[in-house]
Structure formats: structure tokens, C-alpha cells
């Protein structure tokens, strides 16, 4: 889009003031008459079976209103996670919930419940599960097989299988070389043997990447009640439209029976992509108690366990380089710790990302996704590609070279490189660069908007408001197409009761791409209707009309209708103009929402049917400079720059914040963030928030820089792609590379690179850290 008024301009999103003044209401801020509070009783063991629950003492307490167990929840099919269970697969998994007049009473009631548990074999380290005779995380097996034929999506149903590797395959494990037994999935292209044969240098290295909890600021609290057979639920979710059917499924009802309210979400990072299964607990408790409102506030402790985490991966890479640095062959083997549920697909994204980042002439990817008795994983901002840092995908566009050039100059790379590796006092510096790629956009979603007689454009937004502004940004496209002053655009979001169109999941850097396309379609549909109405009333063909100054008028300065007049005419005309007739191809949810808005004004409603050739990927290049104190092992990030190749920039301020913020998550993974399990008991040790060591403001440079090349993607009408994830891998890779540049590539083979790893390696002149063990 050329000559834009809104796209590419900074603006203040309409929800901002409420957020910074505390007026914004999150799920746990809601109160209702007679509301009860729920508390969870969770499994103290990593794997066990509930033999008996004796809640009599709890139920006899004054103020205790009821309990909910797995038996009260609908069966969601084999291997599917439910909110409560009779066979916990991880310590911290909810077994039952108690509702009481307040939390104190509920907690005391939980303490009075006797749950008789039968301990079962468990495993927290994925390699232990693959060892000959090693324990299985489930009684039915230890790994997820490849998705079954006919499955769709990254996490399509897979069978649980049992695979054990041989002692021989573990022979090198103590030296830190990842064993490579039978994988469950693989693909390859090119001639791998020839690639290695032609290589001037072949490396074979193992790297262990940690798991980390998502830990969004807002935990997955929810409040629910029932009225006239309908479930009203206030929940914390990343996506609104896409969460509705999930809530319905978890509660065993129809989507039409659910009203979901989620205007503000305190972050998710992939942990609340389609909502959180635990949110059905207050809903089902409320149902059991005749609809009385039930609030379940999730504590940070609970969030630790049920709040999702990144899959940890151990990867072994054999890589061949030609003399000029070109990668001739790449043989990648990934052991993914899938956690207790899933199946997860991060290992697949990691393989794809590796092929994109390194562009090897030949590549093989093999992987196995292992079940462990650790908390369930879900995609965490840059799931897979961060860890990779397949098949060669055809991309819609990539301007990595431009981004690299831009960044190299802005970062003064050559100047900094000149003094890297030199020691001054106890300090030594290093620089690093990395490309963070990520799939960044889906297609085919719907748009819904109405231009009403009050002269305002109401854009319905079905994505979540998780802090990225994309929930509002998508309306900027409509304002642009309809030449609508931004002050007169009302974004309606966060409440399915108000009618929202079927939208993408607010995950995976999808929203900007998917929803700018959809709203471009919707706005153009509305524009066409305005032109038709004008032509009907004033003669000529619709194409003779254009939009400006809140009018539809003949090209040039001829006669026309104001938007207000046009809206009124649309209501008179009815049919498709005011939304009484809608396109066949839109989703049933959009149809329902359109019905709510029919007759209110001119309706723009359409499905994104624009073509796309290729897979959409966004890229961020990270440039980092670190300083290592060789006497303490401490790594300090001195400077950082992220440069995005993310297509057309919609909202510059927000985009740069995303690049910096996303990079911070990667930096945290490189430097400090982790989670830790005690292997003997299979319990999480890093259960206190500060033990998991998320990044703090003082761990990054006082000023961090970000930029974008701003070249539009030719395969999408607005030219914009998503940006949420690519900076994560960029930050992670750039910092790891910078550390290696400063103190040598042999100092570490696992992340995070904390001072103990660095100091011990430098002190002993060889790597001393645990080579393969997970969760340390």
C-alpha cells in the first residue's frame, strides 16, 4: 500500500490508558454476587494413580461448597489433557478442586482431603527414558510417534509408543555426545554423504537447550457462572475467537452456549494460545453448584506447574563447511523433552528453521519427542527455531541480506570485532550475530466491521489483547482502506457476546499477517458496498466513486453521500448491505457475529481469500556484544541491536518494542533462565519465581536498539508479516555467539551460560559442566 496515512505511523492504542492507570480489568478482577473461590489439590508425585479420595472432612467444614474431580469432567478422548486427572503425569498436576466461600477456607479444605496415591514409575530426563530398561513416563509408552496420516496441524494426533535405545548407542553419552538411536521422525534432502565428502571442515557437536516456564505476568485465572443454560466465563487467554470452541469442548457444551470475556490478558507467550484448559474448572464447579459464580485465581506456585513451558531439546549436529564457509551438509538429530502432554511439534519447527538459517546444500533431520513426567509444554515464543539457531521451504520473501547490512553498519560491527577476544584486566569482550527466523503468518480468517449512522466505524476484533497492540493494529488497515479518521474507529474486542469474527490464534507471529489480510478484505468489502450504494442513489457505476473526508463520492470532487447517509441507506436497503446477507464462505462464528450486527449500518464482512505463494517467514537479525569477567565467569551484555525483516511496518513503536522484548526472552535463555528438577523425586526445585531467573531490566543494556528494513512482503496485500517470535532466536543466538567469541567456542555446550559454567571451563581449560543432563 502506497501513501498510507495510518500504516507505518505511531499511535496510541485505545486500551493503553486503562492499562497504565490500572482501570483495565483482568480475569481475576471480576466479582459477582455470591461468588465462591476455588483452590486446587495437586499431585505431590511426578506420576501416580489416584486410588481413593476422601473429602468428607473437607466437605463437612463450614463454608465449603463442593469439590470437582476428574470424574466430573467430560472425556476428551485418548491422550488428551484434561483439567483434572486421576493419573497425574507430573507433580503439580491438579487432581481436584474445592469451592468455598473464600480462598482461606478452600485451602484449609484442601489440606483436610486425603488422597490415596499409588506411585508409578517416572522419568524427568528424556535420555533416561530412552536408556535400555529406563522408566517410561506413561504406562503406555515413552515417546510420541509421528503424526498419524490425515492429521492436520503441527500437533496432529500421534500415537504413544515405546522406544528404547541400546547401551551401545549410549556409549559416548558420558563424553557429552548425544546418543542417536532410532528416531520417530526424519526427512532429508540433497546428498548428505557428498556434502560431508566435499567439506573442508566437519564438526560434530552436541548442545543442550533448557526448558523454561512461560510465566506471563498474569496467571491463568478464570471466573465463571451460568445463566439460562449459557456459560459466562472471564478468562485469561491470548486468543478470543479461537478460545471459545476450546472452552466449549472442555466443558462438553456447544460453542453457542459460551460467552467468553477476555478484554485484557497479562501476557501469554504461547502458554495461553487457545486458552488454558484449567479455566474449565471454575466453569464446571459453577455448573455443579447450580451456576453460582466461581473464581479460581491461579497462584504463582500453580502457574509454575500448569502454566506451560518451552520444550527442552538436546541437539547433535554434524555440519560440513566448504572453504568459503558455505555449509555443504547438515545432519541434525534432536531429542525433544515433550513434557507430560502434547504432542509437541517444536522439534519439527527447529529442523525447518535450521534449514532456513543455515541454507545447507544437503540436510538430514531426525528427531524423537520423548514424554517425561515434567509439566506440560506448549509453544513458547519462538518454539523450536530458538532452539535451532525442514525441508527447504519456499518463502514468500526474505530480505536477510538487507537486514544484515543495515545492522552491521548500525552496530559498528567491524570496529567492535577488532577488539573482541582481547583481555583487559579481568574482562574480555566478544561479538555475535544470529538470524532468528519464524513462520509468521497464517491466512484464511474473517473480518467483520460496520459503518454506522453515528458516523463511526466499528471494527470487531476476535484476537486476544495480550499486550502486543495487534488487537488494535488490525483496525488501522480498515481505517486506511476506508479513509476513516482514526478517532472515529471503534475497535470492539475481548467479548464474544459482542460478536467477533473467526480470527487467527494470537500465537506464532500470525496475527499481523493474518488479520491485516482479513481486514483488508473486510474493509474492501465495505468500500465496495459504499460505492454500490452511492451508485444506486446517485447513478453511474460503483467504480466511479471513491472515498475521502468520510464521504463516498464521484471521483474528483463530485456529489456523493456522507458515511452517515450511506449507513442509513444500507439499513434501508438491507440484504448484503447491512449484513442480513453474508458470504457463504465465512466461518459459522463470523456468521453468528454478523447476525448480531445486521441492520446496524453498512457491513464489511469477508474471508481472506487472497492468494499466497510460499510459506511466510519473518526474520530478525540480532547483534550482541558481551563482556566476560574471567575471574568470576559472569557474562554481561554490553550492547544489542535487532533488525527486523518483517515486511511492511504497521505500528513502528510497537514493532520495535516487540523486537527488543522478544530479543530479551532469547537473551534470558542464553544467560540465565531455566528450570530445575530434582531427579530423585521428580519434583521441581525452581518453583519459586525468582529461581527460574527471568531477565531483569538490569541484565540488558540501558539502551537497546531495534530497527526494521520495512520492505513489504509481495505475497500479502498489506505487505505486513508477524514479528512476535523471530527476535527470540536472534537474541539467543547472538548472545551465545558473542560469549563464544569472547572466551572460546569450547567453553559451553549448554544453556543458560551462567558464571559457573564459564568459570569452571576457563579454570580447568576444558568443559566441566554436566554434558547431557536436562533440567539442571
Amino acid at each position: 500500500m502506497a501513501d498510507t496515512k495510518y500504516i507505518g505511523q505511531n499511535y496510541t492504542p485505545p486500551d493503553l490508558v486503562a492499562k497504565v492507570t490500572g482501570r483495565a480489568r483482568y480475569a481475576e478482577d471480576f466479582r459477582a454476587e455470591g461468588m465462591l473461590f476455588a483452590k486446587l489439590l495437586t499431585s505431590p508425585m511426578p506420576h501416580c494413580r489416584v486410588r481413593n479420595i476422601d473429602a468428607s472432612a473437607a466437605l463437612a467444614m463450614p463454608g465449603v461448597k463442593g469439590i470437582l474431580t476428574a470424574d466430573d469432567l467430560p472425556d476428551l478422548g485418548p491422550n488428551v489433557e484434561r483439567a483434572l486427572t486421576n493419573e497425574p503425569f507430573y507433580a503439580g498436576e491438579p487432581i481436584l478442586a474445592v469451592a468455598a466461600v473464600d480462598e482461606l477456607t478452600a485451602a484449609e479444605a484442601v489440606e483436610k482431603i486425603n488422597v490415596d496415591l499409588e506411585p508409578l514409575p517416572f522419568v524427568v530426563d528424556p535420555l533416561d527414558a530412552l536408556r535400555p530398561g529406563g522408566p517410561d513416563a506413561r504406562t503406555t509408552g515413552n515417546v510420541w510417534g509421528a503424526p498419524m496420516p490425515g492429521g492436520v496441524g503441527p500437533n496432529a494426533a500421534s500415537p504413544v509408543k515405546t522406544i528404547k535405545w541400546t547401551g551401545e548407542q549410549f556409549a559416548d553419552a558420558d563424553e557429552g555426545r548425544l546418543p542417536m538411536g532410532e528416531p520417530t521422525e526424519q526427512w532429508a534432502y540433497g546428498d548428505l554423504d557428498a556434502g560431508f565428502g566435499n567439506a573442508a571442515l566437519v564438526l560434530d557437536e552436541t548442545m543442550v537447550v533448557q526448558s523454561t516456564g512461560h510465566h506471563p505476568m498474569e496467571t491463568r485465572s478464570a471466573m465463571a457462572y451460568w445463566q439460562n443454560g449459557k456459560l459466562y466465563i472471564h478468562a485469561s487467554t491470548q486468543s478470543v475467537a479461537q478460545t471459545l470452541p476450546n472452552v466449549a469442548r472442555w466443558c462438553g457444551i456447544m460453542p453457542q452456549q459460551v460467552v467468553l470475556i477476555s478484554e485484557y490478558t497479562g501476557g501469554g507467550f504461547g502458554s495461553k494460545g487457545g486458552g488454558a484448559v484449567s479455566t474449565c474448572i471454575p466453569a464446571m464447579l459453577s455448573k455443579k453448584l447450580n451456576g453460582v459464580p466461581v473464581m479460581m485465581r491461579i497462584t504463582r506456585e500453580d502457574e509454575n506447574y500448569i502454566g506451560r513451558a518451552r520444550t527442552n531439546m538436546s541437539g547433535r549436529t554434524r555440519i560440513g563447511f566448504a572453504k568459503d564457509g558455505r555449509i555443504t551438509a547438515l545432519d541434525l538429530f534432536i531429542v525433544q523433552d515433550n513434557g507430560s502432554y502434547g504432542p509437541m511439534g517444536d522439534h519439527r519447527s527447529a529442523g525447518l528453521a535450521a534449514s532456513i538459517i543455515y541454507q545447507p546444500q544437503a540436510m538430514r533431520w531426525r528427531a524423537i519427542s520423548v514424554l517425561t513426567n515434567t509439566p506440560p509444554r506448549s509453544q513458547q515464543r519462538s518454539p523450536g527455531p530458538m532452539q535451532a539457531n525442514g525441508q527447504r521451504a519456499k518463502l514468500t520473501s526474505a530480505f536477510i541480506v538487507e537486514a544484515l547490512d543495515k545492522g552491521k553498519q548500525a552496530f559498528r560491527w567491524d570496529e567492535r570485532k577488532a577488539y573482541s577476544g582481547q583481555r583487559r584486566g579481568a574482562k574480555v569482550r566478544g561479538v555475535g550475530v544470529a538470524v532468528g527466523p519464524h513462520g509468521s503468518g497464517s491466512i484464511g480468517f474473517d473480518s467483520l466491521m460496520t459503518l454506522r449512522p453515528d458516523g463511526k466505524l466499528y471494527v470487531q476484533s476476535g484476537v486476544g489483547n495480550l499486550g502486543t497492540h495487534s488487537v488494535m493494529d488490525l483496525a488501522r488497515v480498515a481505517a486506511e482502506v476506508l479513509a476513516m479518521p482514526w478517532e472515529k474507529v471503534e475497535v470492539v474486542w475481548g467479548d464474544t457476546g459482542k460478536g467477533v469474527p473467526w480470527s487467527c490464534l494470537s500465537v506464532g507471529s500470525q496475527t499481523t499477517h493474518a488479520m491485516t489480510r482479513a481486514n483488508f478484505a473486510g474493509a474492501n468489502d465495505l468500500k465496495r458496498k459504499l460505492q454500490e450504494i452511492a451508485a444506486k442513489d446517485l447513478g453511474g457505476s460503483p467504480d466511479d466513486y471513491e472515498l475521502s473526508n468520510e464521504r463516498v463520492h464521484r471521483k474528483g470532487a463530485g456529489g456523493g453521500l456522507t458515511y452517515t447517509q450511506a449507513a442509513k441507506r444500507a439499513i434501508e436497503l438491507g440484504g448484503k448491505y447491512d449484513g442480513h446477507e453474508v458470504p457463504e464462505d465465512i466461518n459459522v462464528m463470523t456468521k453468528g457475529a454478523a447476525a448480531k450486527h445486521a441492520g446496524l449500518g453498512v457491513m464489511g464482512v469477508a474471508k481472506d481469500n487472497y492468494p499466497r505463494n510460499g510459506t511466510t517467514y519473518s526474520f530478525v537479525i540480532g547483534f550482541a556484544e558481551v563482556e566476560v569477567d574471567v575471574e568470576t565467569g559472569k557474562v554481561t551484555l554490553i550492547d544489542y541491536l535487532g533488525v527486523g525483516d518483517v515486511g511492511t511496518v504497521i505500528n513502528p513503536r510497537s514493532l520495535l518494542a516487540q523486537i527488543k522484548g522478544g530479543s530479551c526472552l532469547g537473551i534470558a535463555h542464553a544467560l540465565q533462565q531455566k528450570w530445575v528438577f530434582d531427579p530423585k523425586y521428580g519434583l521441581m526445585l525452581s518453583r519459586r519465581f525468582h529461581y527460574s531467573k527471568p531477565l531483569t531490566i538490569l541484565d540488558i543494556p540501558a539502551t537497546m536498539n531495534a530497527d526494521a528494513v520495512g520492505l513489504p512482503d509481495p505475497e500479502t496485500p498489506v505487505g505486513a508479516r508477524g514479528v512476535g517470535e523471530p527476535p527470540v532466536g536472534a537474541g539467543y543466538g547472538a548472545v551465545l555467539n558473542a560469549i563464544a567469541d569472547a572466551v572460546g567456542v569450547d567453553v559451553f555446550r549448554r544453556a543458560p551460560v551462567t558464571s559457573d559454567l564459564v568459570l569452571m571451563s576457563l579454570e580447568n581449560k576444558k568443559r566441566m559442566h554436566e554434558p547431557l543432563r536436562a533440567h539442571v
Binding site: 484442601v110 530434582d678 526445585l685
Partner: protein
């Protein structure tokens, strides 16, 4: 009985406004009472329902326990003075900068605004097995979960372990010992005493369930710092995973008096390597009269780690402690002798 965490149970909150009243309450409720200062350590225990006192005596309303006062050429800091107030106080800044540095390195600004110096020196260990409510030695059981062939014990002790391998996490404690401070303790029974900061802390050998000599019913009312070390050559350094909101992996605090480049006198303390802050008396003796240079520093560093016994994941603490001791003597960066 099922376990639930992160929900504070009910207790009787007592809010005295004078030390005398606090002591009376302590006398009345003895070991049924929990002393609450800033709550940063206390609330952890209470919210996790692991420690379940019937009475909580909140000291925050006792003004006489707050503030920094001059006393006999030194200062007296009320136990309820917040870490922020300690950091900001001009006398601390001008004469006892090491305490300012130490206090400022603790936790995060929010925690320092709330956390008190009395609480900081009296805080319990952060061993994650113990704090998860596992019934270890420190919790009255008969096992240490942190020192087994499978434990993850990166943060644990390399010195002075006795069954329990937990460490003292305080940042202000080593600074106070370096300054030769004294702890003023008052008790309900009228059995008041003043103990050297160094002796305030105890290891598991002495009492495996406590970190300090504080007995039930006893109150730490003030910390006295003599004038002796005011304005000395100080060194404080704390190594941690994050630059804020993080306990020390190891910290070092020292006060040194030099004449020319000769070390005349020194007090040197390391924390987070043992269950109590360790004053390195042998190193202090050794450096006395020696030139402040690399050789002295190297020898002192080696001496400091004599007898260190690392666990599976904390061997790095040995060179780290050695290097921090070296730095305390020879400095780093602009301080460095070379």
C-alpha cells in the same frame, strides 16, 4: 493430608508500637510467636504454610527500632531500618560505604524498600530443598536432600558443612562483620546481650535448625558499628546470576587499612559459601604487614579456599571465592594494583 502452598493461613496479628510491648508479647507467646519485620522471608514461609505460627508479632509499628543514629564515634542502626534507608543514609554512605554497597546489592529496589536490616541478617537460608518444605535436617528431619549423589546443589556450601549444606544468603552480613559490628539482643526475660556480628551467625554443627544465636523470645533491636573501620579501604563484590533480584552465588566484603601500599590491618569476610558468613582470620593474619600486590593476593586467595569441599554442582564456588578474595586484596579494574 494434602499439601497446598502459596495461600497464607490465618494467624493472630499483633502490632506492638514499642519494644517493651513487643518483648512482653514475645514473653507471653514464646515459640508460638513469629517475629515479622519486612516479611520478605517471613511471608514465604507463611504463604507456603510450612511454618505455622499462631501469633505473628509485626514490628513495623515500632518507631524506636528504626533509623540510623550516631553512637560513640560509630553508628547504631535500628533493626527495623529498611535496606533502602540504610543505603541512603549519609553517614553510611560517607563512612561505611561497604555497608551501602552490600545493602544496595541485595534483592531488588522493591524488596529493599520493605526489607529491614534486622531481617536481612536474621533471614533463613534459601536452600531450595528446605524451602520447599522437604523434611530435612534443618526442618527437624534426618536427611540432607541437597547433598546426595543426585542433588542439584549449585548454590550450596563448600565450607563448614555439617550434615546440612545450606548457605547464609545475606549480603549485609559480611559487610557488618567486616566492620566489626555488634548485634544488640533483648529478650523477654530481661536477659539482654550484645554479641559480635561474627558470633551472631551459627553453622549447622552448632544448631542445625537455626542460622543465628537468636533464641525464641529474643529480639534483635539494633546493630552497632564502631568507628574503628570508618572510611577504611573497602571492597564489596557480589557475584550473582542476575544483576538485580538475585541472591549471591558468593560475595566478599573487606575493610583494609594500609600505609603506603603495605596492608596494616584487614577484616575479610565471605558469604554464601557456608551456613554462616565466614571471616577469614587466617588470611587476615597472613596479609598483615604484606604489600598490597598480586603475590599477596594470590597467596591469600589460595589460603582462603583451604579445606573447601565442593559438591557435585558447586565446584565453581572454590575458584570464585579464591578470585573474590584476591580482588578484595588487590582490587579490580581501576582499583587493581597492576
Amino acid at each position: 493430608m494434602a499439601v497446598i502452598r502459596d495461600v497464607m493461613p490465618a494467624f493472630e496479628l499483633l502490632q506492638p508500637t514499642s519494644t517493651a510491648d513487643a518483648l512482653t508479647l514475645l514473653g507471653r507467646y514464646g515459640s508460638d510467636a513469629w517475629i515479622l519485620a519486612g516479611g520478605l522471608d517471613s511471608f514465604d514461609w507463611l504463604k507456603d504454610r510450612i511454618k505455622r505460627p499462631r501469633y505473628v508479632i509485626d514490628l513495623s509499628g515500632i518507631d524506636e527500632l528504626k533509623g540510623v543514629r550516631e553512637r560513640n564515634g560509630g553508628v547504631e542502626i535500628g533493626a527495623m531500618t529498611t535496606l533502602t534507608d540504610v543505603v541512603r543514609h549519609p553517614i553510611v554512605r560517607d563512612r561505611y560505604a561497604i555497608l551501602m554497597d552490600a545493602a544496595e546489592s541485595a534483592a531488588s529496589p522493591q524488596i529493599r524498600n520493605q526489607g529491614t536490616i534486622g531481617g536481612n541478617v536474621s533471614q533463613d537460608t534459601r536452600c531450595w530443598y528446605y524451602r520447599a518444605g522437604w523434611s530435612c535436617y534443618r526442618a527437624g528431619g534426618n536427611i540432607c536432600y541437597a547433598d546426595t549423589p543426585e542433588s542439584i546443589n549449585r548454590e550450596h556450601a563448600i565450607l563448614g558443612a555439617d550434615r546440612c549444606v545450606a548457605v547464609n544468603p545475606s549480603d549485609t552480613a559480611p559487610a557488618l562483620i567486616a566492620l566489626d559490628a555488634e548485634m544488640v539482643l533483648r529478650s523477654a526475660s530481661g536477659d539482654d546481650r550484645v554479641v559480635d556480628a561474627e558470633d551472631y551467625f551459627i553453622g549447622p554443627g552448632t544448631d542445625i535448625t537455626r542460622m543465628t544465636v537468636l533464641r525464641p523470645g529474643e529480639l534483635l533491636t539494633a546493630i552497632r558499628i564502631p568507628g574503628d573501620w570508618a572510611g577504611a579501604r573497602f571492597y564489596f563484590e557480589k557475584v550473582r546470576d542476575r544483576q538485580v533480584w538475585d541472591f549471591p552465588l558468593v560475595n566478599v566484603a573487606s575493610a583494609m587499612v594500609t600505609s603506603g601500599e603495605t596492608i596494616q590491618n584487614m577484616r575479610l569476610v565471605v558469604n554464601a559459601v557456608a551456613a554462616r558468613p565466614l571471616r577469614l582470620v587466617n588470611v587476615e593474619q597472613f596479609v598483615k604487614g604484606k604489600p598490597r600486590n598480586d603475590q599477596t593476593a594470590d597467596a591469600a586467595g589460595e589460603m582462603a579456599i583451604e579445606g573447601a569441599q565442593p559438591l557435585r554442582f558447586n565446584a565453581y564456588k572454590v575458584p570464585l571465592m579464591r578470585n573474590l578474595v584476591k580482588r578484595a586484596i588487590r582490587g579490580v579494574g581501576e582499583w587493581a594494583t597492576s
